[in-house]
């Protein structure tokens, strides 16, 4: 009886997981297949599920399309800038959260999460006006700053949990062995959290790379790739859309796959604490 119950629970669990997986993977599969199908086949009817031959035609078309390469470059620049700023601000904040007991520490931790409470769409228009006044509108730095606000809570909380796992004893030992406070951090703490920081950086990259809305509102000519695709979507042929869609998801998929274990680890700790 007991065993049957457990069997049923397992069926439900794995059934649910399978449904979710299909829900996520099916569109990805369709986009991927379509991206590797030649243009003529894409428009033919009836169409077979698998392409008759793999073709890079759509890709080349997408890559050569007006503005795509420039937008990709901008996206990468924005993402790198976002990583730099997020880590420069987020890692010290995470260190402070993990090492010092200060008044309002828990409130601060919660407040960081609360910055994610407001939908970007609500903030976009006032933000655009502010950016115009500050001269940040339609600049890569402007988009980066917006992305930093999206990535920062994650960076702060995960780095906090990374530093928390490093016993303070180690830094104190370095102090007694001749290091300054900063020296102890650089020589002991930093090397030990580097893998975690890399994971946080990759995650930040993905956040920035995937962000469409704010990038669309805050730029005009200097569009990032998602904003560019979004803006040209209506007017572009099917193969452009599929190739673009595939190209957008690829880095996210690859990076998240690389850091998947660490990601769960980091979030797990961040949530438990």
């Amino acid at each position: 009886m007991e065993r049957r119950k457990r069997g049923l629970a397992q069926v439900l669990f794995y059934g649910g997981a399978l449904l979710l997986a299909i829900w996520t993977l099916l569109p990805l599969l369709l986009i991927t297949l379509a991206a590797f199908t030649s243009r003529s086949e894409l428009y033919s009817w009836p169409r077979s599920f698998l392409p008759r031959e793999l073709s890079l035609e759509s890709f080349l078309y997408f890559a050569k399309a007006h503005g795509v390469m420039e937008a990709t470059l901008r996206s990468i620049l924005v993402a790198l800038l976002t990583i730099l700023i997020s880590l420069l601000i987020g890692a010290p904040a995470g260190y402070a959260l993990s090492r010092f007991r200060f008044r309002g520490r828990e409130a601060f931790r919660l407040g960081i999460l609360m910055t994610r409470m407001f939908p970007t769409s609500l903030l976009a228009i006032p933000l655009a006006i502010m950016y115009i006044n500050l001269g940040l509108y339609d600049t890569l730095l402007g988009v980066s700053l917006m992305h930093v606000t999206l990535a920062l809570p994650f960076v702060v909380l995960t780095t906090a949990s990374l530093f928390m796992k490093i016993p303070y004893d180690l830094e104190e030992a370095a102090l007694t062995l001749g290091c300054s406070r900063l020296g102890a951090f650089v020589r002991i703490c930093l090397p030990m959290v580097t893998p975690g920081l890399v994971a946080a950086a990759i995650f930040t990259f993905v956040v920035s790379w995937n962000e469409v809305y704010a990038s669309s509102v805050l730029t005009l000519r200097n569009r990032t790739l998602p904003a560019h695709i979004m803006a040209t979507l209506e007017a572009s042929p099917l193969n452009f859309r599929f190739a673009g869609g595939f190209f957008m998801t690829l880095p996210a998929l690859v990076f998240i796959f690389i850091i998947r274990k660490r990601l769960l680890h980091m979030w797990g700790v961040a949530i438990n604490k």
Binding site: D169, A174, T176, L177
Partner: protein, 363 residues
Amino acid sequence: MAELRLERVVRRFKNVVAVDNVNLTVRDREFMVLLGPSGCGKTTTLRCVAGLEKVDQGRIYIGPRDVTELPPKARGIGMVFQSYALFPHMSVADNIGFGLKIQGRPREEIKAKVERMAKLLHLDSLLDRYPAQLSGGQRQRVAVARSLVIEPQVLLMDEPLSNLDAILRLEMRAELKRLHREIESTTIYVTHDQVEALSLGDRIAVMQNGRLVQCAPPMEIYDHPANIFVGSFIGTPPMNFLEGEPQGRSGQLLIRGSTFTAPVPPALWEQVGKLKKVVVGVRPENIEVVLAAEAEATAAQGTVGVVELLGDHKLLTVDTPERALKVSVPPTAPVQVGQACGLRWKEDKLRFFDPETGWAITA
């Protein structure tokens, strides 16, 4: 190597005074043990000396230098942490050489010094390993080597043996003693283990509630505890304590309880005579058990409640109307549970305390 001096050192945490006006001088090359129950302030005191904890009042001197305001690296200390605090991303050799590297010493010098220190601590075959690949005892030795290789003027050890299992702890204890004889560093060693304290220390400083209660050589701490706390904290089992009133009788001063008497040595008569009540302290090995026949004539009477054979002696719990007393007798002593017995003191080993303050009464 140098002398270490703490002058009226105070450290507070919010409302708690963790270190309360501690005066302590550790002589050059002396092995000083800071002993006390957990939370007594011994580790905080050590961290104040290390510079890892700031001092609210008082001064700390190492040799002639006032180091009170100096950061840890400028004090000339080496520290062994309870958790060892080895750097997991560095090999044993890099761990030991870390301090020298920070000082910017040439590579050959670092190598030579690390190897010499590794030899001294039997680590020569482990230099390429990482901390995770070492046993507890080996990690312990790396931590000691790392703190010694920078030739500190004062070596600080914070419960260095508490993470080891019992047998290894005995081994490392002897090892540390040998090491100290060889390098003769001025050492402060923090522990809550009184056996460690007695076996290692040239002198022991006992702390209670942030205060330094007594600082003396081990045997003096054991034989002449400064107060009831020290007598009960040191020694397994602890000192027995009995309360009574002083009474003069036929040219003698006795402490009388309801069922025991204890003679006071003439040197203490004046002091003891002033008190209404006095606590008598006596260690288990300083009580003799007298079996039935002549039991009447002894200093106290009781019944044997528990007999524990502990190898080299038997530990008796003798129930007296006052309280249960721990008595240590030879393993061959023919005692039975339930037997009535008399007790006799080794009179020169009796100690007397003021029950109100807890302090020993001394001439």
